[in-house]
């Protein structure tokens, strides 16, 4: 076997580094996919609108409007952060109120599929 020069070993190190970086990012890409498969719901964020949360959590929008004591407007484009500011509440409070309403709204329906028996994730 040939002895590696200083420059060649540098290339080898860079090669291994980029390879492991690639694997690292693949793992990071797969993680949300797995999370998605089991948990279905994505976390409520400040940029989301009431409409988006209702859409993402598959609940009727009026449930969420009631939870925050807002009149229902069909195309309310205000992000939640804005609503929180107007109501003098923190995003955490808004999030909790919405999640509570979502749980209530889903209650009468059969329980959402549990993780172990979850079939192919259908969007």
């Amino acid at each position: 076997m040939k002895k590696l020069t200083w420059r060649q070993s540098l290339v080898a190190v860079a090669f291994l580094l980029s390879l492991s970086l690639g694997i690292f990012f693949v793992i990071r890409a797969v993680r949300p996919a797995i999370y998605w498969h089991y948990h279905q719901d994505e976390p409520i964020r400040g940029w989301m609108t009431m409409g988006y949360v209702a859409h993402s959590y598959h609940v009727p929008p009026y449930v969420l409007h009631q939870a925050l004591g807002l009149p229902e407007k069909p195309h309310d484009k205000r992000p939640l952060r804005e609503i929180a500011k107007e109501q003098n509440r923190s995003m955490d409070e808004i999030r909790t109120a919405l999640l509570e309403a979502i749980v209530q709204a889903r209650r009468p329906y059969p329980a959402s599929p549990s993780p172990p028996t979850n079939p192919e994730a259908s969007p």
Partner: protein, 203 residues
């Protein structure tokens, strides 16, 4: 309060003009999280907050226009700067070699950096401009790549409209993974050549 959140809020509130502006600026080279913005725009279209075709058209035009600005700036502004630097510090031969590489491989490089390895996009606009890659050929490779990028991302957001955050996260990480693997392949190729006996036939 992240930039992503602010961008998405602005796109929701003000619609197409903001989307257009953000993608234009990002295509020139400002690192905005536009992948997420595009995916979100697809979701907003699905929910009826925005219209699908105008989103795709506006985003495509903005991206192509932004690339031309990046290319133009480096072709007419960057070139003289590079010349001044090489005159003072040397390295003109290296620039010449980079130009040759760009002329030979520039086309597919431009195309794939539009939609597959988007992190390299603005960088390739710059190198193409500095290397005087023919403008017409630049547009021919650039435009289909950008349209593909926009359609791909917006449609993913449209289809998985209730999973914007996840989709954007997956796409972002895959983009970096592909970039890392491309670098690994190039370096691996170099390594193989080191180890091959010098007299062997080159493939």
């Amino acid at each position: 309060m992240s930039i992503t959140d602010q961008l998405l809020e602005a796109v929701l509130l003000y619609g197409l003009p903001v989307l257009f502006g953000v993608i234009l600026i990002a295509s020139v080279g400002v690192p905005f999280p536009i992948s997420m913005t595009l995916v979100a725009a697809g979701s907003f279209a699905k929910q009826g907050e925005m219209k699908l075709m105008p989103v795709i058209i506006a985003a495509s035009i903005a991206a192509i226009l932004g690339d031309q600005i990046g290319y133009g700036l480096s072709r007419w502004g960057g070139r003289s700067l590079v010349d001044r630097i090489t005159r003072r510090f040397g390295g003109a031969a290296k620039i010449k070699r980079a130009e040759a590489v760009s002329k030979k491989w520039g086309g597919p490089g431009i195309f794939f950096s539009r939609w597959l390895v988007t992190a390299l996009g603005p960088w390739l606009n710059f190198t193409s401009g500095v290397a005087h890659y023919p403008w017409r050929r630049f547009i021919v490779w650039d435009a289909p790549g950008e349209v593909l990028w926009v359609v791909l991302y917006v449609m993913l957001g449209y289809i998985f409209s209730d999973r914007v955050q996840y989709i954007a996260e997956i796409l972002g990480n895959l983009g970096w993974a592909i970039l890392a693997f491309i670098v690994a392949i190039l370096l691996g190729w170099k390594l193989i050549r080191y180890f091959r006996p010098s007299g062997s036939v080159t493939v």
